[in-house]
């Protein structure tokens, strides 16, 4: 396991999630992913579209059931929970969705959107329920009078705050935030990221932060996992990953991000990744990155590299190491 410490809250073990397309085609969205998350940390999950990062997040919270492998929350296999245990698990683990326009019911008031969670888990009724809703709105930087309004009356950033308030309503310990800022303008992104940081400190939350914006992931995360075509290709503490990326894909990915500083940008050495991500329905044999890798050797076409420790706390799935 990645961290053998006792404070591990979440373990994802050999997780696979396949989707059946028609009769024959199988999309292997997540194919054998293993990692763990410690209490209080922010675990960043990055990769390009179609790499399976969202599927991992959704499987963790139970929106998908795994095809194979396990998700252990505090040592318990989440797919084996029954009845009341499921409800208890869902109170502990919440999700913030990517699109604040699609993830709020347009026919419900903000108060009911947040209150629904309180009702389902029987956390508060009547006056107390209203007080809780007002409190939650305050926590995320909105005000009590917003409770009677509908989602369409809010801007994207405000809607994302409503989504966060809804997730916080049940007092969770663990939040999976799936691209929570990618639909927002930059000045608003900073507001939401700072809010997430503050909540983590105040409430001792643990996050999985899923994003394609590597600069933001670096800013927020303690550990980062890089995914490519359903696989975790590299895993390291955030600072280490950005300073010393080992996997050729991570190197190319980091190099591709333009830095908002023209002098730095001019002097950077660039590693250009040729071509595009192959289809996950029919991934390349051997290492999945071999078709775009500048270091590809014959072995890479034959054998699929396993994620292995290369430096202390730093894991990579590559035949170079």
């Amino acid at each position: 396991m990645v961290h053998d410490t006792q404070d591990t809250v979440l373990e994802v073990v050999n997780l696979k999630k396949y989707f059946q397309f028609g009769r024959r085609a199988v999309l292997k969205a997540v194919d054998d992913v293993t990692f763990s998350v410690r209490k209080g940390e922010v675990f960043g999950l990055v990769g390009e579209s179609g790499c399976g990062k969202t599927t991992v997040g959704r499987t963790i919270v139970g929106l998908y059931s795994p095809t194979a492998g396990k998700v252990l929350y505090k040592g318990e296999d989440t797919s084996r929970l029954k009845g009341a245990e499921v409800k208890k698990f869902k109170r502990r683990v919440q999700m913030i969705f990517q699109d604040p326009y699609a993830s709020l019911d347009p026919r419900m008031t903000v108060g009911d959107i947040i209150g629904e969670a309180l009702d389902i888990h029987r956390l508060a009724r009547g006056k107390e329920r209203l007080a809780r809703i007002h409190e939650l709105l305050n926590v995320v930087g909105l005000s009590a009078e917003h409770a009677n309004r509908f989602p369409h009356e809010f801007s994207g950033g405000q809607r994302q705050r409503i989504g966060i308030a809804r997730a916080l309503a049940v007092d969770p310990e663990f939040i999976v935030a799936d691209e929570p800022i990618s639909a927002l303008d930059v000045s608003i992104q900073a507001q939401v990221v700072n809010l997430l940081s503050r909540l983590r400190e105040e409430r001792g939350l643990t996050y999985i932060f899923i994003a394609h914006d590597l600069a933001m992931v670096k800013h927020l995360s303690d550990n980062v996992g890089v995914m490519y075509l359903g696989r975790l290709v590299e895993l390291a503490p955030s600072a280490e990953l950005y300073k010393n990326p080992l996997h050729p894909y991570t190197q190319g990915l980091l190099s591709a991000i333009p830095i908002p500083d023209p002098r730095v940008e001019r002097e950077r050495k660039r590693i250009v990744l040729e071509g595009e991500v192959p289809s996950p329905v029919n991934p390349p044999k051997g290492c999945r990155f071999q078709t775009r890798c500048r270091h590809a050797k014959p072995a890479c076409r034959e054998e699929d590299p396993k994620l292995k420790p290369v430096a202390p706390g730093h894991f990579a799935a590559c035949h170079l190491y």
Binding site: A190, A215, A256
Partner: protein, 348 residues
């Protein structure tokens, strides 16, 4: 011929008449593009960056849109005075456009080849054979593998990045003097974005085209832009060379924008500067400076009077009352904080 103005837009005013009232989307915007340079127009959604640029060649839907004032000089011609017919010979031929979303801006029912040859036949009066030859040349210029086979395929057979390459091929097929690229890489993955940006850069040197790059991504701007216009709420907040804007930003909005994004190369974590509040509603444009309600330096004058453009050396202009000589004492008081932005930029 660097330095000569290819496009000169002055005091452009554009409104949209909707059922809910008039939205004053562009409120007196001036900018220019020199020959051979890349001008980036930066701003957040709704700031009017796309509308400003698209209005210059009347690409906005009219109605509900209406150009209510201003002049647009392109290569010596006044585009605002031109008939729609004449304008059609400018669009596509002299000004090429790449739109944000290559999924929806290509025609799904036409082969990619026909979409490229269409403009060539119309504007350059090439024969079908010549146009095909040129289109295949264009496809290989934008580095699409197997251009001959690709010529016969439909957009759905292309990936997102490849579609954007097709868009670029169409836009550049008639050798335009100006290329308008509206968020050309938004929605593409970063590794594909890097490929497209490299391609645009190399094509610009090869074909000597001027580019207007509309984007919200400061990273993309730093990679491509020679000069930058920062827009906020339908107005130009600050304009200047790339160096001016990144290392000597004087408008509080520009400074805040630069501090609100994390930088990959920085080792230390600093708290991101969030700009409180949201941009104003342009149904009721603010009386004074549009940024004043969110600005930590706002003075009384900012709320009631719109600032003019203050010159800050070279082509650098700033629309902010702090630049007024009478605000010198306010500037000094904030010097510690404002100097912060400059110092950080300069040191990196």
């Amino acid at each position: 011929m660097a330095g000569e103005r290819l496009l000169d837009v002055k005091n452009l005013e554009v409104s949209f008449y909707t059922y809910a009232g008039k939205v004053h989307a562009v409120r007196g915007v001036s900018f220019h593009v020199n020959r051979g340079e890349t001008l980036a127009i930066v701003g957040e959604s709704g700031c009017g960056k796309t509308v400003s640029v698209q209005s210059t060649i009347k690409l906005i839907p009219m109605p509900p849109g209406k150009i209510e004032g201003g002049t647009v000089l392109f290569d010596g011609k006044d585009l605002t005075a031109m008939s729609d017919r004449d304008l059609q010979s400018v669009r596509g031929a002299e000004i090429g456009v790449i739109f944000q979303d290559p999924m929806t801006s290509l025609n799904p029912t036409m082969t990619v080849g026909r979409q490229i040859t269409e403009g060539l036949i119309k504007h350059q009066r090439l024969s079908a054979q010549e146009a095909k030859h040129r289109a295949i040349e264009m496809l290989s210029l934008v580095e699409i593998p197997n251009p001959k086979e690709r010529f016969r395929q439909y957009p759905h057979q292309f990936s997102g990045g490849m579609r954007q390459r097709v868009m670029i091929a169409i836009a550049l097929s008639c050798n335009p003097k100006l290329l308008i690229a509206d968020e050309p890489t938004t929605g593409l993955d970063v590794t594909i974005q890097a490929q497209i940006l490299d391609l645009m850069k190399s094509l610009q040197t090869k074909l000597d085209t001027s580019i207007i790059l509309i984007t919200h991504d400061l990273g993309v701007v730093s990679k491509l832009a020679d000069r930058i216009v920062v827009m906020y709420a339908g107005k130009v907040a600050e304009a200047g060379s790339s160096e001016d804007i990144f290392y000597n930003a004087l408008h509080p909005y520009t400074q805040a924008l630069l501090k609100s994004v994390p930088r990959l190369h920085e080792e230390t974590k600093r708290e991101l500067l969030a700009i409180p509040g949201t941009p104003p509603d342009l149904f009721v444009p603010p009386k004074g400076c549009a940024f004043a309600p969110r600005c930590s330096y706002a003075m009384r004058v900012c709320l009631d009077h719109q600032p003019g453009d203050f010159a800050a050396g070279g082509s650098h202009t700033v629309a902010c009352w702090l630049m007024d000589p009478r605000a010198a004492h306010v500037r000094e008081r904030h010097a510690g904080r404002a100097g912060d932005a400059g110092a950080r930029g300069g040191a990196s």
